[in-house]
């Protein structure tokens, strides 16, 4: 950049004390560009040349939030005004999305880049044209980023924002398939599991409203999701994500049934949980048979913990609690890092067992 069109601007140097800034060996261009930018910022000059200068400055340092902020102000000022509400011309939006894409490369960790896309799209979604198509194109962009970094938090948040903002059934349903494809390529991708929960619950596709107006899956859907979680866990029982998903799905049903106080509902959910407990026991057994000599890896803390969580739901069932207590003893040995946590849970279950025994004795 030769700064020729800025020759009427008095640059504001950085306040560096006695040493002259120009003697800097590192990058005179960097300093010069930011000196001009400070001058334009101070004068609040929102012009085409100011926009070009932000382009240059952002290429030098894409994390500077004030430059992005100033760039958007320029874009708004340079666009045609509509009913006095701030807007950015569609063409400029498309161009700037492209600019942000190129600047970020294949792995934009920098938060400002994501936020800029979102700010531009907020304007874009208000304009005429096939908005769904704009959204799909943006989802493709995010997919490209996730191909490179499948757990990029900003990218997943950006997907959620697009889908939620447009709120179209088509996008919600396709997101479940998308999450599935990501689980298949890496079952340990927790972001993909979270996305599945997000699409099912927030999209209100298969959920019903419970009495406190929060979205809860229907029993039938919950059954499917529990099977899905176990399918994921079976691929790799040491993977934390499907176990948390499974317990999340089943606990949601249990809490909802308990709140509703309908005996029939509670019985149905109890059946569903028992069925899953049975499946986990089988999985545990077959895993132990596969690895008979390696006792420490014969069980996964995630599997055992999920089993304990479900067994513990039945606070007055002696057999369930006894089984849970034994599992906690195993966890204390095999997962010493969290020994105090398991110990605390074991104490709690022991207390429950003692009170059951007392009741039995009193009854006798």
């Amino acid at each position: 950049m030769d700064f020729a069109d800025l020759n009427d601007v008095e640059p504001i140097p950085q306040d560096d004390g006695p040493e002259p800034v120009c003697s800097i060996a590192y990058s005179p261009e960097f300093i010069k560009a930011y000196d001009y930018l400070r001058a334009l910022l101070k004068a609040d000059e929102r012009s085409e040349r100011a926009l070009n200068l932000t382009t240059f400055c952002l290429k030098l340092n894409p994390a500077n939030y004030t430059v992005w902020h100033f760039r958007r102000r320029c874009l708004i000022s340079l666009s045609a005004e509509t009913d006095q509400t701030p807007a950015i011309d569609v063409e400029r939006i498309e161009k700037d999305l492209d600019f942000a894409d190129k600047l970020g490369g294949t792995n934009p960790k920098n938060y400002q880049l994501w936020y800029h896309r979102r700010a531009l799209l907020e304007f874009r979604f208000k304009e005429e044209g096939d908005i769904l198509q704009v959204a799909k194109k943006e989802l493709e962009y995010v997919d490209k980023i996730l191909d490179d970094d499948s757990k990029n938090y900003h990218a997943w948040s950006h997907r959620q924002w697009i889908i939620k903002t447009l709120n179209k059934t088509e996008l919600w349903s396709s997101e479940i398939n998308y999450s599935h494809s990501k689980v298949l390529s890496d079952p340990r991708n927790n972001s993909a599991w979270n996305q599945r929960w997000f699409a099912l619950h927030e999209g209100k596709i298969s959920s019903v409203y419970s009495n406190d107006r929060s979205a809860v899956l229907s029993l039938e859907k919950a059954k499917e999701e529990a099977s899905y979680a176990l399918y994921g866990a079976d691929l790799d029982p040491f993977n934390e994500s499907p176990w948390r998903y499974l317990v999340g799905i089943l606990m949601e049903q249990w809490r909802s049934a308990k709140r509703g106080r309908d005996a029939d509902d509670i019985a149905k959910v109890t059946g569903l949980i028992q069925e899953n407990i049975g499946k986990i026991r089988e999985m545990k057994k077959s895993w132990e048979e596969k690895r008979p000599n390696d006792h420490s890896s014969g069980s996964s803390a995630s599997l055992l913990s999920a089993l304990v969580d479900l067994l513990e739901i039945f606070t007055d069932a002696k057999e369930s609690l006894t089984e849970a207590k034994a599992l906690l003893g195993k966890l204390m040995l095999e997962d010493p890092v969290r020994r105090k946590y398991w110990l605390k849970r074991e104490k709690h279950i022991t207390k429950l067992l003692v009170s059951i025994e007392q009741k039995e004795n009193n009854a006798v």
């Binding site: 960097f30 939030y65 938090y153 948040s157 998903y245 020994r339 105090k340 946590y341």
Partner: protein, 429 residues
């Protein structure tokens, strides 16, 4: 499953701690960033406010307030080094407090990440060559600015227009209780924490009344803020940046810290799905990797900064003992640079001030700094897990948040200044 036996975990002695190197690393960092040839200085220019807060925070855990003031130049100018740049003689650096006030954005009322260009505060005292030209006000930097002023005991400085800052913060709250970070309207639970912490530091936070009555004249809706935080809780017990977003340990701190400042931790055991403090704490405990370090999400690498984000949240909910603190302490110590000082994100990496501060915070929260101090005849200041400031500063300012006691009803000494929620009842299990 871990290869370590449970006895190893209990007996580990604490390894070497490079106190003097870390102190020097932090003090000299300021000079290095100021150097006009510093690339690091140029690209971190816009967030210098947070960098200064991390530096001061780190040094404050190692040295007493007077020493920090003298070596960092909090209230008065300080020798800014400069010989290595070949300039004529050494330079004086302006007082940090003066520089903070230059970073106030008069348009918004908040503080920006820096002012008048790259260097923070370099120049002859009282002879700034340019008019301050701050970055635009943002909640992140407004909180860092107030935290710096708190450590410098300068919150009553006449240049601080508390009403204007409080108006800036309250203007960023949305009808659903959430907060934006700046006028551009990005919403994130990080900003809820920043907003509530700022107002607490300014002495302007309306604490919700227990009688259920709403205050009409409150500048922010604290209950709404807490409700929004709860809407970001996930099925795994953790919290994300907005409703539906994946649980992330950094966001967990912000959410638990916000609930703590809002005296609303009881909400953890009420909500729609009944996920309670135990489920959250277990999710946090599961973040401990075989290396002893903590990660921020499942299947991610351990990183020293999570020693802060996770331990602070576990401290607030009274469940630090659920992780193996001696193994974590060793992990943090393994991340020290034993030649030049500073702490890195993981062993063998380059240190930086962010990880240095949060590594020291982690060592403080698990009691390692205290043990090291006993071993070496020093007294270290402690960090407060809610406000991320030394506990003596929190006490001096009379800041009061809420914490949950251990399951036996006891509470760590450093937390006794806060309101205590009975942990014996905090569990639904």
């Amino acid at each position: 499953m871990s290869a370590f036996s449970s006895t190893d975990a209990e007996t580990g002695a604490i390894g070497p701690f490079h106190d003097a190197l870390h102190a020097r690393y932090v003090v000299e960092l300021g000079h290095r960033l100021d150097s006009p040839t510093s690339y690091e200085g140029a690209v971190t220019e816009h967030l210098r406010m947070s960098g200064v807060y991390w530096s001061l925070g780190a040094l404050s855990l190692l040295r007493d307030a007077d020493e920090v003031d003298a070596s960092m130049g909090l209230r008065g100018g300080v020798d800014g080094g400069g010989e290595e740049n070949g300039g004529g003689g050494r330079r004086m650096r302006r007082a940090i407090v003066d520089w903070v006030f230059d970073c106030r954005d008069p348009r918004s009322g908040g503080f920006g990440g820096n002012c008048s260009g790259a260097a923070f505060g370099v120049g002859t005292p009282g002879t700034a060559t340019t008019t301050p030209c701050p970055h635009h006000g943002h909640l992140l930097y407004t909180l860092s600015a107030l935290q710096i002023l708190a450590m410098a005991n300068a919150l009553d400085d006449e240049r601080l227009d508390k009403d204007a800052v409080a108006r800036f913060v309250s203007g960023l709250q949305n009808p659903d209780g959430s907060f934006c970070g700046d006028e551009w309207g990005e919403v994130d639970t990080r900003f809820t924490y920043c907003a509530l912490s700022c107002l607490a530091l300014l002495g302007r936070l309306p604490i919700p009344r227990n009688d259920g009555e709403e205050e009409d004249d409150a500048i922010v809706d604290v209950r709404g803020a807490a409700r929004y935080v709860m809407s970001c809780r996930n099925f795994d017990g953790g919290f994300g940046c907005v409703p539906g977003a994946e649980s992330h340990a950094g966001q967990v701190f912000c959410c638990i810290g916000a609930l703590s400042i809002a005296h609303s931790l009881h909400l953890l055991n009420e909500g729609r799905d009944g996920c309670d403090a135990d489920l959250l704490a277990w999710w946090l405990a599961e973040r401990q990797c075989d290396s002893g370090g903590l990660n921020g999400r499942p299947e991610k690498q351990a990183d020293v900064c999570y020693s802060w984000w996770i331990l602070s949240a576990l401290s607030i909910v009274g469940r630090v003992s659920w992780i193996n603190t001696s193994r974590l302490g060793q992990f943090i110590l393994n991340c020290q640079d034993d030649e030049d000082g500073g702490i890195a994100d993981r062993p063998q990496d380059m240190p930086d001030v962010y990880h240095t501060f949060f590594g020291l915070c982690g060592l403080s929260l698990i009691g390692h700094l205290e043990k090291i101090g006993n071993r070496e005849g020093r007294t270290y200041r402690e960090v407060d897990p809610v406000f991320a400031l030394p506990t003596d500063v929190v006490r001096r300012l009379g800041l009061r948040a809420q914490v949950i006691s251990y399951s036996n009803g006891d509470v760590e000494d450093r937390l006794k200044m806060h309101s205590i929620l009975d942990g014996t009842k905090a569990s639904l299990k």
